[in-house]
């Protein structure tokens, strides 16, 4: 209900306005009619009065007097009528000439030229542009009286006020009506649109859409404020993401650094020591049995140390990453299938993808390690298939297992933040690495159906333009 309250209010106001407008229109017409009939009876009265007066010889013009000096006295309360401004009376003789006239009745002379008048009053447009109501009354001698009254002047103040009032009411109604339309068009509709757009926005994940562009300053500032808030939410979210990304990157850097140090330092020293022990053994005389045993033990110890250091290096930052993605993924798969006894791992990598940077290759290797670890430890899978395909400027990485699967439920799709908080850190970390690649990750799994991970990420510019190795 409240959703439509504004609309309802506006409709009510509009309807009331329309009613007011219609009523004004009706009143205007009624008033016009009333005026009309009033004028008619007035002019008939006037004509009859004069006709009666003429019959009794009162105020009758002297026949020998020239026209213009014969006067009717206009008996009227209206000054403009008394001095002839708003009408007058003509006595037309048998010969059709004007026998007498009221003061200022000259302007009514045109009436003679008009068609014959009947006894019914008529409305005639005068030469001066005024509307005159005209009534005719015949006298016994064949002459007749023509009385004419201009309605505009006769009761002008009253008619004027009345008419102005009605017109004002009508204009007001129309203005309100127009106002309602404008209000709806420029306020209610944009407000609704703003609400719609904000509702459709994923707070913190999307840049705010353009909320409003229009003439209203208030709406503009409102949408600007909302836009700023949304932008801040977005920035905050980005900052959070970047923080996690930085953590992942920092960890990778530390690992690489450590591996390098181990390789250049302890490992090389161990290897050199082994070589020296071996040389020493070669130089021993055949009878130095005890010394040889000591040297054998020493070599064993250092060999073990070297092997351990190598393993650490491989775990921290595998050197075989530098062989290119296809080789690296293959090596990774070999090692994983050795680590998870009985797990068959099949990887298929487009050779075109050897253009991927070392960082990207390492990320993919880590993602795959995490995925295989999940498949083997949680899914009890016996085989994992992975494919890395180049499609246009994008890379598709799919990982499928035949394990027990799990109810991915809310985790399917791309919301892996939930996973982090619900203990699936592995998946969340995978997603983080995918994000680092600028890609997206989708997870599909249900109990008994295995698990499928779909990753898509763009080839970086320098990678997609690099000549194939």
């Amino acid at each position: 209900m409240r959703k439509h309250l504004l609309l309802a209010l506006m409709i009510v106001v509009t309807l009331l306005t329309a009613a007011g407008f219609l009523f004004s229109l009706y009143a205007f017409r009624a008033q016009e009619e009333a005026m009309d009939s009033m004028m008619r009876s007035y002019v008939v009265d006037l004509a009859e009065n004069f006709a009666g007066g003429a019959a009794m010889g009162r105020g009758m013009p002297q026949r020998h007097r020239p026209m213009g000096q014969m006067r009717f006295r206009m008996l009227s309360t209206d000054a403009s009528l008394r001095n002839g401004g708003a009408g007058g009376v003509l006595l037309i003789g048998q010969d059709g000439r004007v026998a007498a006239a009221s003061p200022g009745a000259e302007k009514l002379l045109f009436l003679r030229t008009r068609a014959e008048f009947s006894d019914e009053p008529e409305k005639v447009r005068g030469d001066d542009g005024n509307d005159y109501y005209v009534a005719k009354r015949g006298l016994e001698d064949g002459s007749y009286i023509l009385a004419a009254v201009s309605r505009t002047v006769l009761i002008a103040p009253l008619a004027g006020i009345w008419r102005t009032w009605i017109l004002t009411a009508m204009a007001t109604s129309a203005a309100i009506f127009l106002g309602m339309i404008l209000l709806w068009r420029y306020l209610a509709v944009p407000l609704r649109r703003i609400a719609e757009r904000i509702r459709g926005m994923r707070w913190g994940k999307d840049h705010p859409p353009a909320l409003y562009s229009g003439p209203l300053y208030e709406l503009e500032s409102l949408s600007a404020v909302i836009g700023t808030l949304a932008e801040e939410a977005f920035a905050k979210e980005e900052l959070k993401k970047r923080y996690v990304t930085d953590l992942v990157q920092a960890e990778e850097n530390t690992r690489r650094h450590l591996a390098r140090e181990l390789h250049d330092g302890p490992l090389q020293s161990s290897v050199a020591a082994i070589k020296r022990i071996q040389l020493a053994k070669e130089a021993l005389p055949p009878q130095a049995g005890e010394l040889r045993r000591h040297l054998d033990t020493a070599e064993d110890v250092v060999q073990t140390a070297a092997r351990e250091i190598r393993d650490y290096c491989d775990e921290l930052s595998p050197s075989w990453i530098r062989l290119g993605l296809a080789s690296a993924m293959q090596e990774n798969a070999d090692r994983l299938s050795r680590a998870y006894e009985g797990l068959v791992i099949d990887v298929d990598v487009d050779e075109d993808l050897d253009v991927l940077s070392e960082e990207s290759s390492l990320a993919l290797v880590r993602i795959f390690q995490e995925a295989v670890s999940n498949s083997a430890r949680h899914g009890g899978a016996s085989s994992v298939r992975a494919a890395l395909k180049k499609e246009g400027d994008a890379v598709h990485f799919t990982i499928e297992d035949d394990g027990g699967g799990f109810d991915a439920g809310p985790a399917s799709g791309t919301d892996f933040e939930l996973l982090r908080t619900t203990g699936h850190r592995g998946l969340a970390n995978m997603n983080e690495r995918v994000r680092l690649l600028g890609g997206t990750m989708k997870l599909e799994s249900s109990p008994g159906q295995g698990c499928r991970i779909d990753i898509v990420f763009p080839l970086a510019r320098e990678e997609s333009t690099a000549a194939p190795a």
């Binding site: 290897v271 070589k275 071996q278 040389l279 053994k281 070669e282 050197s319 293959q330 299938s337």
Partner: protein
């Protein structure tokens, strides 16, 4: 007398190996290098019989230098020297044209064998590169299986192997499964390395040299 170039960026390892080479009968240490580029210059000038190259060196690594040697048609054989035993290092070295692969920490007897084998152009693989079926004799491959393994070993995808031999991809897969079983391998890389090690397939047969698969 085998003339040898030794390239390793780590002074301790380099001097250790050098002092062994200097004493060893039948070999002559022709040059020492501490990085890929100077190794390459020495190879061009001295044309040694064997280059002992460290895989990981600043600038050009051992695999790069091996590829250059092959590309320039030099007669120098390459024995790759490394601290790591990754299978893909071995594969990458072989693809680049190296004849052998040995760990820096290998016993002197193995090193000796590796040097003399590879100097003659015979494949050598360090025993500590772990291969599951390495210790079993394994069954003999059928001629068709050998063909499949050789083509797959050249790095061709199953679809191309199938079309070259006019068989279906399914049949290729079946052959590979049979090969793995006979050799005791778990995957293609292992199968190829085992076949090389046991002499079932010769290094030259793999013709990595054609460069269908470039060096990584």
């Amino acid at each position: 007398m085998i003339r040898i170039l030794l390239a390793d960026d780590h002074p301790l390892t380099r001097s250790g190996l050098a002092s062994w080479l200097e004493k060893e009968e039948g070999v002559e240490l022709a040059a020492l290098a501490s990085d890929g580029e100077s190794a390459w210059q020495s190879i061009l000038e001295l044309r040694p019989d064997l280059a002992l190259l460290d895989i990981e060196m600043p600038g050009a690594g051992g695999i790069d230098i091996a590829a250059r040697i092959r590309k320039n048609g030099l007669k120098t054989n390459v024995l790759m020297l490394t601290a790591y035993s990754a299978h893909q290092y071995v594969m990458a070295s072989l693809r680049a044209g190296a004849k052998g692969f040995i760990l820096k920490s290998a016993p002197l007897e193995e090193l000796r064998k590796a040097v003399f084998d590879t100097a003659r152009g015979v494949f050598y693989l360090d025993p500590s590169v772990s291969l599951t079926g390495a210790d079993e004799p394994g069954e003999e491959l059928s001629p068709r299986e050998r063909e499949v393994l050789i083509l797959a070993g050249q790095g061709l995808p199953a679809s191309e192997v199938a079309s070259l031999l006019s068989i279906t991809e399914r049949t290729v897969a079946a052959h590979l499964t049979s090969i793995y079983g006979k050799l005791g391998a778990r995957n293609k890389t292992e199968a190829i390395l085992l076949a090389l090690k046991k002499g079932i397939v010769l290094l030259d047969e793999l013709r990595f040299l054609d460069g269908e698969r470039g060096t990584p």
